[in-house]
């Protein structure tokens, strides 16, 4: 367990120092959300009606953007071999990378999302639930994305492949999260949707690192 925290600290420094990854995901989210009104039209009623979906799909894509090279650098420069030889479990390696990714990409989304939601006329009553859905949902996106990143480790063309792999797995969190926000916007209780989302998180927390580790271990053919 101590190794996990030691890994997370290093992975955080690596991501923050590289600068590009952290900022790129946020910039992508902002740009994507900003583009929608030009496509859908500025009318508040229409935008407001689909705002929750736009926020969440953009958040999902932003998570994917910075996910592709999650393990790639450590794989290419031999760090992965050294970590495994140092007795660090593949699960800890996966969990540390996913945690660092969420802290740098998922968490900031929570802060930027309300601003972007206002931009696209999200109904007033839904802001609190939106943040709750992102707080519960973005870790799920990072966890599932982490499995995809581990699967494409060492593959020839990673980018598009990663999106194809995780798209089906992103459907449940997307449905429950947007469902919760829509319910709140209509004045209904978002509880059932948020509980399902929390359920997904509770399942993904232990299972995703195990699946990602299984994929990482395939490096040791």
């Amino acid at each position: 367990m101590r190794a996990l925290w030691h890994l997370i600290r290093r992975d955080l420094t690596l991501v923050l120092r590289s600068g590009t990854d952290a900022g790129a995901a946020l910039a992508f989210f902002v740009v994507t959300v900003t583009l929608f009104p030009f496509g859908i039209g500025p009318e508040p009623e229409i935008l407001g009606r689909v705002a929750a979906g736009l926020i969440w799909v953009s958040a999902l894509l932003a998570t994917l953007l910075s996910m592709e090279r999650l393990f790639q650098a450590d794989y290419e420069d031999g760090t992965l071999d050294q970590l495994l030889l140092a007795g660090v479990s593949a699960e800890a390696i996966a969990m540390a990378k996913i945690a660092a990714h969420w802290l740098v990409t998922g968490l900031p989304l929570l802060i930027v999302a309300p601003v972007m939601a206002a931009l696209i006329q999200l109904p007033a009553g839904a802001y609190g639930v939106m943040i709750a859905s992102l707080a519960l949902g973005t870790p799920v996106l990072s966890l599932i994305g982490g499995i995809g990143a581990a699967l494409i480790l060492g593959a020839r063309r990673g980018g598009a492949l990663l999106a194809l792999l995780v798209l089906p797995l992103f459907v449940p969190p997307l449905i429950f999260a947007v469902g919760a926000i829509d319910a709140a916007a209509l004045g209904l209780s978002p509880r059932p949707n948020l509980l399902f989302l929390a359920g997904l998180l509770a399942a993904a927390l232990p299972l995703a690192p195990v699946a990602a580790a299984a994929a990482i271990r395939q490096v040791l053919d």
Binding site: H6, L7, T13, L14, D77, G78, D81, L83, L85, A86
Partner: protein, 210 residues
């Protein structure tokens, strides 16, 4: 006292038999120098001994010893595992801290000194030369002590003085009861080193023992 033994191991890479019927025994304080032309499987053998690769046939066994707390393998491969955005010292402190949190920084500084790269401590990894990165990679062996060193062409990119320091560290490691398996083209002076020639184990070879 044998600390590592391999019985009739064979290795397959991407569907091809790289070598077969390779057996070796490494004693505490001993050393084995693996030779063979390119593609003979030297790197594969080391990765196989380290457990980074599963043997197609045969088995690898290590003899744990109660009084030696060090972890089993220290491996230096072609990739130096140096993070470009971390400084040389930060790179080593990470590996030192992973092995044992106590005085990680002090141990890292000692390792930099041992390979004469203390002056690079605060420079980011990306501007280090290949030789300096290799010294940093060798430094990792000192901050995360292991009983058996598996070194894959460690002297590549090292200057003469670097090679001298490498040989010194190997000697000290042997004296501490550790073992060394080195794959190399350059002849390193290593005390009591046996030679394992992978040429004799090529799959196509119709050797008597084959």
């Amino acid at each position: 006292m044998t600390i590592l033994s391999a019985e009739k191991i064979a290795c397959q890479r991407a569907g091809r038999l790289v070598f077969r019927d390779v057996s070796l025994r490494l004693d505490a304080g001993g050393a084995i120098v693996v030779v063979g032309r390119n593609g003979a499987g030297k790197s594969s053998l080391l990765r196989l001994l380290a457990g980074l690769l599963k043997p197609l046939m045969g088995s690898v066994r290590t003899e744990p010893s109660p009084d030696d707390q060090r972890r089993m393998f220290g491996y230096v491969g072609h990739h130096d595992a140096v993070k470009p955005t971390l400084t040389a010292l930060e790179n080593l402190v990470f590996w030192a801290g992973l092995a044992d949190r106590r005085e990680a920084r002090a141990r890292a500084e000692l390792a930099l000194e041992a390979f004469d790269i203390s002056q690079l401590a605060d420079l980011p990894g990306r501007i280090l030369s290949a030789g300096q990165k290799r010294r940093l990679s060798l430094g990792r062996l000192l901050v995360a002590p292991a009983r058996i060193w598996l070194l894959d062409e460690p002297s590549v990119a090292l200057d003469r003085e670097g090679v001298r320091r490498l040989e010194g560290e190997i000697g000290r490691h042997q004296a501490s009861g550790g073992g060394v398996v080195v794959a190399t083209h350059q002849d390193l002076t290593i005390a009591g080193a046996e030679t394992l020639d992978l040429e004799a184990h090529r799959p196509g070879q119709r050797t008597a023992g084959g």
